[in-house]
């Protein structure tokens, strides 16, 4: 058996599972887990913004929480202060995250590696402290609550995220669309440029790529992904809080991405799902579940430095090689 049918089977299985979640999960476990899976989808989109920068352009951002926070606050303030309806508020969140990413990216992508990691965390800290101190507007660490406007009206009937099934599918569709967009970008000439910069930025510049502009484009795209996830999370929790802009939130996304497999499309999803599922299962039985999370992060980088998806891909490649090698072996043995 070669790896390809195995991979296709897994993809189809996952897709079928994700589509049937709102009926399958309440029947098998508990309807609470539908909201856990919704949350996993949102956070995995956030992790994939780290992945786009680190896995495909080679820039390790430690400050993606800033754009998550802007997506979150853009949406929440749009509804709460400007009385916008659903879609304009969603748009405001995304646009403010991208605008912030553009402004900070213009400065940040001039730096690389350690310096880049540190300037991104510094930028996010600046706005974290600003958000904490502007309590009347942002609510500080306590955050602000708002009530959800309906998503759309069809034939006099209003559909809103207060319906858990509708909310789940809304998140699933938005996250899938974003991941599909990411997939298309990575496989476009632009994406090849990203990879060239990741592998060797000097060589990339010598073949005529504008490294600075490409990095900036990737940075704004990552801001888009983080902004969408922040806006979704604001809708999901019906609130926004400065605490989601702290550097530890960015750090978690880095951990999820690397444990899941940086530079792979589904790595962030796998890493996020793993950590959130463990948190949900263990934390209800054991107060000190972060011990397990910490241990898992350490074991993952020691035993699977390419991440879980990287491990899986290596396994598939070996299967393929064995399948390709075996006929030749019999040929050699024949005469």
């Amino acid at each position: 058996m070669t790896g390809r049918p195995l991979a296709i089977g897994l993809a189809v299985g996952t897709a079928v599972f994700l589509i049937t979640v709102p009926w399958l999960i309440p029947a098998l476990i508990d309807s609470f887990w539908v909201s856990v899976i919704t949350e996993i989808l949102i956070w995995s989109l956030f992790a994939s913004s780290v992945n786009l920068l680190f896995g495909y352009v080679g820039l390790l951002s430690f400050g993606q929480a800033l754009y998550f926070g802007f997506g979150m606050y853009g949406t929440a303030l749009g509804i709460d202060h400007l009385a916008l309806s659903f879609w304009p508020a969603f748009g405001l969140g995304i646009v403010s995250a991208m605008a912030m990413a553009l402004v900070s990216g213009v400065l940040a992508v001039r730096l690389t590696w350690h310096y880049f990691a540190i300037i991104t965390v510094v930028f996010s800290l600046i706005f974290y402290f600003l958000a904490v101190s502007m309590k009347p507007l942002t609510g500080g660490d306590d955050g602000i609550n708002f009530s959800l406007p309906p998503v759309l009206r069809l034939g006099g009937k209003a559909f809103g995220l207060t319906d858990p099934t509708f909310q789940y599918f809304f998140v699933l569709v938005v996250v899938s669309l974003c991941l599909f967009l990411k997939f298309r970008v990575i496989n476009s000439p632009l994406g090849k440029g990203f990879l060239a910069i990741r592998d060797n930025d000097l060589r990339a510049s010598l073949i005529g790529l504008n490294v600075y502009v490409l990095r900036l484009i990737a940075f704004v795209m990552a801001g888009f992904l983080a902004g969408v996830s922040g806006a979704l999370f604001a809708f999901f929790g019906r609130y926004a809080s400065a605490s989601y802009m702290f550097y530890q939130v960015s750090g978690e996304a880095v951990v999820w991405t690397i444990v899941g497999g940086a530079g792979t499309l589904f790595g962030p999803l796998v890493g996020t799902a793993l950590f959130i599922v463990i948190r949900e299962i263990v934390s209800s039985h054991w107060e000190h579940h972060s011990l397990l999370v910490g241990l898992l992060a350490i074991l993952a980088v020691i035993f699977a430095p390419k991440g879980i998806v990287g491990l899986w891909n290596g396994w598939i490649t070996r299967l393929d090689e064995r399948a390709a090698a075996s006929p030749r072996l019999t040929l050699q043995a024949d005469p």
Binding site: W113, F129, V132, P305
Partner: protein, 286 residues
Amino acid sequence: MKDTVLLLAMNGLIWGLIIALIALGLSVIFGLLDIINIAHGDFFMVGTVLAWFSLSATGNFWIGFLVAPLAGFILGAIIQRLVIQPIHGAAALSIVATFGLSLILQEIVRITFGPTPRRMLAPIQGTVPLFGVEYDIYRLLAAFVALLALAGFFLFLHHTKLGIWMRAVRHDRETAVAMGIPAKSVYVLTFGIGFALAAFGGAVAAPITTVDFRGGVDVLPFCFMAVIIGGLGNLPGTVAAAVLLAFLEGLIQSVADPTIARISSLVLMSAVLLLRPQGLFKGYAK
């Protein structure tokens, strides 16, 4: 008004000397092992907790000054062997590994020490007149101890065999190994020293700040700032930057609230990163 400015500036200066100790540990680990140590703030926090435990166990505050760095050194050496060595200096992986380490250390302290922050009483109470203000004696003593430790560390680095080995491996690992320096042991030693410096800083700072399992979270960005502004791997620069940053924050705090002070130093740091990524002090010290 003048008194407040002076008081806050002095507080900043002394806090800067303590931060310098911690940041020095971070810089040594970073420079030699190429590890971005997310757990470094927690190494400091472990130091404050060790000081708390040794005070409550023995009733003698000063024993903490011995226990914290010693236990820190041993813990650091063990952690290097178990966690850091297997990842072979891959910086991205080191972030994940030390993030995990940070969670584990915080959780262990939460289990043993408890979730509530506590205040520790200074062993010497009272104030002395200094430049016209009444100043806390313990803080002055803390500054003196921190200065001694800084001087001791630089003496160690330049005048002992181990210190010279550390510098040699950092400078050129291949040659150092060829000359018979056991690089692997030097790495273990370096990580131990890095932890010990942070833990010692924690023991000195324990009566000044609160003892809390999340006490390292705020210290970490500050230490990174000092390391960057001082110039990566520039140890005297790190010390100077830590003192300068904390002093400036203290000064700004006397006219604005602490958050504004923190934001100003972050903005300063962005400017340094963008304009002088090699650090403020390149060319003044090597």
